[in-house]
Subunit: 146 residues, 2 copies
DNA sequence: GGTCAATCATTGACCCGTCAACTAATATAA
DNA sequence: TTATATTAGTTGACGGGTCAATGATTGACC
């Protein structure tokens, strides 16, 4: 139990370190941030989608989504239009240009991912994914008012 | 191999999700950010230390360390003084008040960590820690110019 | 039909991080 | 000893995130 306790802190700390070290490298390797590519990938999978619906698929809040999309619009990667049937909704879709440039990012991302998991065989990957999923469940069940 | 490839992306994405979901909850549960508590914990373990030496122990850059410490100084958690023997160095140390308030944070942190790893037995923890360490190694070996 | 509530998007204030430029102090070496 | 390099710390510009307040639009209900 004493070992288990001392490992506990290390695991959570390691997760924290990994994320802090991975984010900047991901961005340098692929040329885009994880969040933004995540956003674009969701857009890639659909034709047109409302911002809130998009937001629910992604780990960032409304405000950040709005700002990302405004910047992406300026860059000509996406277009936005109001839902004619309900003007509260903003529909977003990739431009053709945006759609083609994503695949380059995706390729870089795939190369990056392979490096991160270098040396892990199939069994280990599945084990790891399973554990991470359990951790994610635990985290989502944590209630700050406790 | 196809399974392995599809899992690859999920693992890295899960790591990304976990960190994004954990950080805000950690802060709400413990009342302090992971980075700041990390900084304070290092300070707790020593008597007096220079800022660069402190920075090397932590995953944040010089600028952020400076800003953290200035804020902590305003709150009365730390004191700073120049090294009389070399005025380039800024020595930092916890105040008595800072030293006592850390232990409360540490307790909350420990409770938080236990929740995150709920349901993991000792063997799993050690396996997981091992895998995460390998991933961290892989990440640190990634060269953006490649 | 008009008021009230709910929903989507936007904005502002703030926190935290990086990078790059800068200042100040010290070390080095011609 | 004086010019140059190095080192520690600070600051400004910026990117990106959250939360809370606001505005606009629509739905629901008396």
């Amino acid at each position: 139990m004493s070992n288990s306790c001392s490992d506990e802190g290390k695991i959570v700390y390691r997760l924290y370190e990994i994320s802090k070290q991975t984010s900047p490298k991901f961005e340098r390797c692929t040329g885009i941030s994880q969040s933004r590519l995540d956003l674009l990938t969701k857009l890639f999978e659909v034709d047109e989608i409302s911002q809130t619906e998009l937001q629910k698929e992604v780990n960032i809040d409304h405000a950040a989504v709005t700002r990302h999309l405004k910047q992406l619009e300026e860059k000509g990667m996406v277009t936005r239009r109001k839902n004619p049937a309900d003007n509260r909704f903003m529909f977003v879709r990739l431009t053709d240009e945006g759609r083609t440039s994503i695949s380059a990012y995706q390729d870089e991302k795939q190369r990056f991912i392979s490096k991160v998991l270098n040396g892990f065989n199939e069994e280990e990957r599945s084990l790891l994914l399973n554990m991470l999923t359990r951790i994610q469940d635990n985290v989502s069940n944590i209630d700050p008012n406790d």
